[in-house]
Amino acid sequence: MFTSLNSRALAVSLCIFMAFLLVWHLATQSGGPVQQMDPEYAKLMGLTATKGTSAMPGPLDVAAKIWEHIKSPFYDRGPNDKGIGIQLAYSIARVMAGYLIAVMVALPLGFLIGMSPMMSKALDPFIQIMKPVSPLAWMPLALYTIKDSSISSIFVIFICSVWPMLINTAFGVASVRKEWINVARTLEVRPLRKAFTIILPAAAPTIFTGMRISIGIAWLVIVAAEMLVGGTGIGYFVWNEWNNLSISNVIVSILVIGVVGMILDQILAFFARKVTYPE
């Protein structure tokens, strides 16, 4: 039955998952010591102190919470109580906006840098200094100049996803095989046609690798950015639920962020496979 590698791996995955759920369940089950106190004071102290139950939810609480969210993902009861679907939609929209602007800037600029050794040298110091800056460090500057928190987080997404795409595009374009360029030269191919029919397809796998790294970073950064600027988005949702001390919701958010990140990565991986050519 467990002959193929995949089925054995699946069995091990399920075992690990079950064991994890079991340990989690047992760890959150046992009650701590109960203290005697004034009822008024007990209200302030919460269930941990009065009944000994942990504020850390068990797997069943989280499952119930997930079901709750699945039933109504898009409810809107005012600024501090929106469905997780709405929050995700805000985050994804910001990531897409920042990411697409980054694509529009990084690909042409990367082409220029890759084609021209002079431009490559000229722009290198700027790239080397700007690349290691944490994207969140741009936030105050963005807030001051743009004066809009939502657009500022889009800008932060742009600035964090532009570097891997730029560097990979430049590298991919610069390392197109000489012989393919020579084919185009002997066929007297015009520069624009050469760019689209030789250099772009030759560099596409490298470009998509950069785009895949970028979408990963963008999704990491949006959570942090939204925690900072607040208002809407999955990052804000996490922080808001922490302030509400709803650990269940925080755990659900972590799961959702992970799943969405994986989907984004797989979409880019799909396109990367489409443009990869075997040699």
């Binding site: 020579n182 084919v183 002997t186 066929l187 191919v189 397809p201 030759a202």
Partner: protein, 306 residues
């Protein structure tokens, strides 16, 4: 009157269809000097002629070919094809690259069609594909049109390269050791096909090779280059074998061993010592033309004496 002069220029351009006139390549060397790879190279190729260049690695053969292709320009001298100096790459001169240089993201048909579409940009898609298919069939790859280069063997890839070069109907073909990466059997059958195609289409061909037998089988004229740096054309061997030779009986032709020994002697010793023993009367502008031939058959009297 004008007719006469026209005829004479035609003869001129047929006799010296490709004319290599005093070309040189220098590289800067450490210490401000320069290294000369080759210099004062002169020779010409007739229209419809198959010309091979033989020489050791480093003598600049590939550079000469790249200059004819227009991918590089000489530091001195000029290359003239069909009466025009070469100033850059041209669709008139097709190159078959040593490493086949197919575009791996395109199919066989896509690779050939890319060249056809570059040659005739105004053509419709169907016309381009029909033309490409014709040349794919010519090199014996009909049925493989939609394969990608990664699915082809080395010999098939090189066939696609040949089809791509022929499809643009060039005035001449330039081949840079096109068969050196192939196994002996594949190489043999591809040489047969290249020879057939070149004879059928009357192509002028310039080919670089390391392989003496390949040169003897294919070439009308074999240019011998001495070792670099400072390489030069030692001599030009006029292939004495009949034009309608075939591979199987090649080694039975009377002059075969004379040519072969001459070439091998040159590669083993001549290419090294030529520079130090330049023959009297050697003129780089007119390298000596040699036509090796078998010694006259020995008479019965001679044999007795021996």
């Amino acid at each position: 009157m004008s007719q006469v002069s026209e005829a004479s220029t035609n003869i001129q351009s047929d006799e010296r269809f490709i004319s290599i006139e005093g070309i040189a390549r220098h590289y800067p060397a450490p210490g401000g000097d320069r290294t000369t790879i080759f210099q004062n190279v002169w020779f010409s190729v007739k229209r419809g002629e198959f010309c091979c260049v033989i020489g050791h690695s480093g003598c600049g053969k590939t550079t000469v070919l790249n200059m004819l292709a227009g991918l590089e320009l000489p530091d001195e001298g000029v290359n003239i094809v069909d009466g025009k100096a070469i100033e850059g790459p041209s669709l008139d001169r097709a190159v078959i690259f040593q490493s086949h240089a197919l575009l791996p993201w395109r199919t066989v048909l896509g690779n050939v069609a890319y060249a056809v579409a570059s040659r005739w940009p105004a053509w419709k898609r169907e016309q381009i594909n029909d033309h490409a298919r014709k040349y794919i069939k010519l090199v014996g790859l009909a049925g493989s049109e939609f394969k990608r280069p990664s699915e082809l063997s080395g010999g098939m890839k090189q066939r696609v390269g040949i089809a791509r070069a022929l499809s643009i109907e060039p005035k001449m073909m330039l081949m840079d050791e096109p068969f050196s990466a192939l196994d002996a059997l594949t190489r043999g059958s591809l040489q047969d096909e290249v020879r057939r195609i070149c004879l059928d289409t009357g192509q002028s061909t310039f080919m670089i090779t390391h392989d003496v037998d390949e040169a003897i089988y294919l070439a009308d004229k074999i240019v011998l280059m001495t070792n670099g740096p400072g390489a030069m054309v030692a001599e030009i061997v006029d292939n004495p074998l009949p034009r309608n030779r075939d591979r199987i009986n090649l080694h039975k032709l009377p002059d075969y061993y004379a040519v072969r020994n001459h070439l091998i002697d040159f590669l083993v010793t001549g290419s090294k010592i030529f520079r130090d023993n330049i023959p009297v009367g050697y003129d780089p502008r007119r390298p000596p033309v040699v036509r090796p031939a078998a010694p006259a058959p020995a008479t019965p009297g001679d044999r007795k004496a021996a």
